[in-house]
Chain length 348, copies 2
Amino acid sequence: MSRRIIILTQGHTEPHAGKTAASVIRYRGQDVVALLDATQAGKTSGELLGAGNVPIVASLDDCPEANTLLLGIAPPGGKIPAPWRAIILDAIQRRKMDVISGLHDFVSDDPEFAAAAKTAGVTIQDVRKNTEKTIARRQGLSPDCLRVHTVGHDCSIGKMVVSIEITNGLKSRGLDAKFIATGQTGIMVEGDGLPIDCVVADFVSGAAEKLILQNQHHQIVLVEGQGSLVHPSYSGVTLGLLHGCAPHALVLCYEIGRDRVTGVESVVIPPLAEIKRIYEVMSNVHQPCKIVGIGINSRRVSAADAAAERARVKAEFGLPACDVFRDGPDELVDAVQAFYESGEWKQR
Amino acid sequence: MSRRIIILTQGHTEPHAGKTAASVIRYRGQDVVALLDATQAGKTSGELLGAGNVPIVASLDDCPEANTLLLGIAPPGGKIPAPWRAIILDAIQRRKMDVISGLHDFVSDDPEFAAAAKTAGVTIQDVRKNTEKTIARRQGLSPDCLRVHTVGHDCSIGKMVVSIEITNGLKSRGLDAKFIATGQTGIMVEGDGLPIDCVVADFVSGAAEKLILQNQHHQIVLVEGQGSLVHPSYSGVTLGLLHGCAPHALVLCYEIGRDRVTGVESVVIPPLAEIKRIYEVMSNVHQPCKIVGIGINSRRVSAADAAAERARVKAEFGLPACDVFRDGPDELVDAVQAFYESGEWKQR
């Protein structure tokens, strides 16, 4: 069955809360027929999310051809917004739509949704649901696959997008690159991966290592980062993933103007130089690892300010740096390709 | 009902695998009637585990008064050893004993054990089972409670023991100290706490913060550390706990002669000075944090070698250092008490 997806963003159709919606539209747009948000009906995804040109509709009935409802937000804590319950139930019961969700609150564990889905004969796919119980062993890592990992100064700043754009850039140059999804949105886009933040803590590194072992027949893997080593809520996820995927190279991502930790606004994000030092310390514990470039998210500033900041960062760190949307990803693709072809990482 | 516990260590009655057994005997010995290990019957816990003087028996029937079977090991991955299944079933079905387990494999989720327990009317307590879904917010931390956290260069090197011994030492001096258990054995000993390594990764820091918020009416809390920032399998647990409990002070624990990562023996543990630097970097991301002492585990070396190493470490780092068993915990208790009374941490 081909997916014809309505993405539910009711009341949350803006770039931060709607990052799942934006990325599914951007990278899997051929399957998306509409966004559902009665408060924004008549507008488009391009206007509100800066991604694609998908119409925003007020009701499921505006899209009779749709067969799948995808919950398009990723709020902290991952709970289902209360006003969404009636919409989800209606999609299941009356429209016989499948449901895809990346929330921590599993839709398929909710007795009312589960019973309705059973009666309607539809499936509920909770992308974050997993039973991972693999312990990282540091065995069997291929010496021929370059492992690149995106990391950041905060959560929700574009690590997934940078990973995908670099992967696509490498592929367009004929290299065999693979995007390794570690979060719910990446998994929805790529069709495989593991929801690292939803694995039981003892098995986070093991899950990351498993993803590497499954994909190291590629020349280069780009492992999507999660959270931040300086995020007081999620740093454990970040480090477990970092040590589990054992990268040879990092791409450091940050957003211009982001100075407070998302969700913990009392905490100031350290300067980028300090962030860089922290990642260098922690990524080099077990093997050499090099920061090969910087991904800039400049969505909140003007083109002129973005260009100035890009020049400043390149000068400060002596590294390639770009906003993969505004500037295109070439400079980071160049950096990864050059590092791969140098073979320097093979001696490590 | 008072607990009369048989600790099951069948085939694993040695200090490393049997650390759960040893600690329950050491700190909750009044409730323990025997160890069950048919391969070691006739010996005692003191001979094989270096803890207490509990007899080792060959059969449940050697202890007709026992009403609880406690699974006394904590293997990597936390699986139930296959030969134990018959013993556990017999305890439940024939002897109507309750079961306490700290394994990752939940006894109560096993259909055969669950059905047997229901029929027999006994309870299965899986200490690691939890439904924690709290996100760390860094709000409401008391300025009057000193938060001390034990960290280490590897797992299973005595962080829990150092935490308990310092807590008991502070209490004996009239200070209101509380041991905060974060692992299955600590929870069995203390009767409360949360199994941090078994929380879903996104909520590890939140669980640690919750433990602080629940206990900060005490003057000093001693938070049991988990894993190690340089353990490639468990470093995420370690960092999530470290950032979640937001310590003012650390006690750095290590074992003399331990130079390979437990369970990942291909990985060399960095020198203690490097370990110290890594903890200083990561514990100071959000607020000042000071390493106030060093806990030495000297079980594998002679008294003379232990004394020499203790002197060497004290000189190298200029910090109080002791083996809480061999030397007694006073030097570390002194250090924590002095830091508490200095008030220095309140200005931080």
